[in-house]
Amino acid sequence: MKTKNQLAIAPWIFTIGFFVLWELACRVFNISSFILPAPSTILFAVWEYRTQLTYHAFHTLWMTLAGFGLAVVFGLLLGMVLGSSRLINAGSYPLLVGFNSIPKVAVVPILVFWFGVGWVPPVLTAFLISFFPIVVNVATGIATVEPEMEDVLRALGASKKDIVFKVGVPRAMPYFFGSLKVAITLAYVGSVIGEQNASNVGIGNLLTRASAAFEVPLVWASLLVLAVLGVIMYAITAYAERSMTGWAQRSQMAA
């Protein structure tokens, strides 16, 4: 019980400790707020710009969720295809990896050519950057179905499709949810990159404008808001994971 409480407060202790150390470092070494503003300065900026930050943060949130939603749907589908055919899997891996090695920052201008400034480029960037881990994990989950389970079903006359849908997909769910935790932070990074150069609103856009205007505390305040939002989205996904695939965690505990 004691341990449980400790585990619950540890994140707070560590986080607060981190910021306190940072603040101290800034004060002791008298670091210029242009180089590294103290947390107090940043928090002050957060308060000062709270309306703008909230407005833009919500926009970024929507962009992220839309891109993430696309990535989930598309990632699941592609993962299912790749997981059930070793041939397609082997064939498309280099393309996927190659595409994934291209920095998405370089892709944003191309998206603007095609779709103009607006909500499309951030959403698409979020999608493009985050679908890869989902595909990989879903495909792995489906491809690693226990051969014995497959035997049981095949001896009953089950088709490949039956096996994928009855066993492969549910079995891949823990992998899928695991990948969502990675994908959501990536989607988030993607929509911010998209907004930086191809949107009139959003934290990414705010960030660029703030740094163009040399509002260093505002830059850091935006980064802080990004980090906090990222943690929240991660926590939500982790919670979804726990509640949707409890069987995966508990089956280990029972063993």
């Binding site: 389970m149 049981v152 001896a155 069987w247 029972a254 063993a255």
Partner: protein
């Protein structure tokens, strides 16, 4: 009685066997319709391979496999299987796990939705027979290993297969539960006249349940001895404590010991 499973002079090498040594070689075995056959043999001798051949999950390199009068060229679509490892799907309740074959095998597949209640009742009566009454709503990981194994037995039985393949299904059970399940299998076999092939390491189990016991040699597996079991049916657990029974087990031991030495 007609021959139901006819494996004739079969040699099988796994595609991934690095050494190319066959898993079974010149294997010939005939099992009659409605018969309860037990297969014993050392670990790795090819017992599971035999099962895979008989159900069409593997195709022999040489020889023929005929099941129910037809040469096997694809998975047979009528077999129920249960392994030592219960392979239950952890995201389905035990009941839903048991109903899984019905979602695949015709005619149940198309009837399942409309006649759900009927099938559920059947699954529950099976659960009761194996001593899991009322546990259907639990998830497999909430059951002990032995309970899971019993549930996987129900899954193998739910669609009333004509051929039942049991690969050491009672391995992880304590001797009581195991003996109870022997009786379940005995009654089931008496009631349904299904053909059963049981792989086991336990000679007493084989002696109590089977009509015939086949002994396999070490890899590459071949049938090296075959013993009719003549105890009258229905058999009572008490017979396992009779001197005749001890003698039969002792004799089987001797035969296998011989086969081992020869190899």
């Amino acid at each position: 009685m007609p021959v139901f499973v006819d494996i004739h002079n079969v040699t099988h090498v796994y595609a991934r066997a690095e050494d190319g040594v066959p898993a079974v070689e010149n294997l010939t075995i005939r099992i009659n319709e409605g018969e309860f056959a037990a297969i014993v043999g050392p670990s790795g001798c090819g017992k599971s391979t035999l099962m895979k051949l008989a159900t069409g999950l593997q195709f022999p390199r040489e020889g023929t496999v005929i099941v129910d009068g037809k040469e096997v060229g694809a998975p047979v679509k009528l077999a129920g299987m249960a392994f030592q490892n219960p392979t239950m799907l952890p995201w389905r309740t035990t009941l839903d796990n048991i109903l899984l074959p019905l979602e695949i095998v015709e005619p149940h597949r198309s009837r399942l939705r409309r006649h759900k209640a009927e099938y559920v009742a059947k699954a529950e009566s099976l659960l009761e027979q194996v001593g899991l009454k009322g546990q259907g709503q639990k998830f497999p990981w909430q059951l002990s290993g032995g309970m899971q194994q019993r549930a996987s037995l129900c899954r193998a039985l739910i669609h009333e297969p004509k051929l039942l393949m049991l690969d050491e299904p009672f391995g992880a059970l304590d001797s009581f539960t195991r003996e109870e399940l022997w009786c379940v299998m005995r009654d089931l076999h008496a009631a349904q006249k299904v053909t059963i092939i049981l792989v086991t390491h336990d000679l007493r189990e084989a002696a109590f349940l089977a009509d015939r016991i086949f002994c396999m040699s070490a890899r590459p597996g071949r049938i090296v001895a075959e013993r009719e079991v003549t105890f009258p049916r229905p058999r009572d657990l008490e017979i396992t404590y009779t001197p005749e029974f001890s003698e039969l087990v002792h004799e089987l031991r001797g035969r296998i010991a011989q086969a081992r030495k020869a190899a």
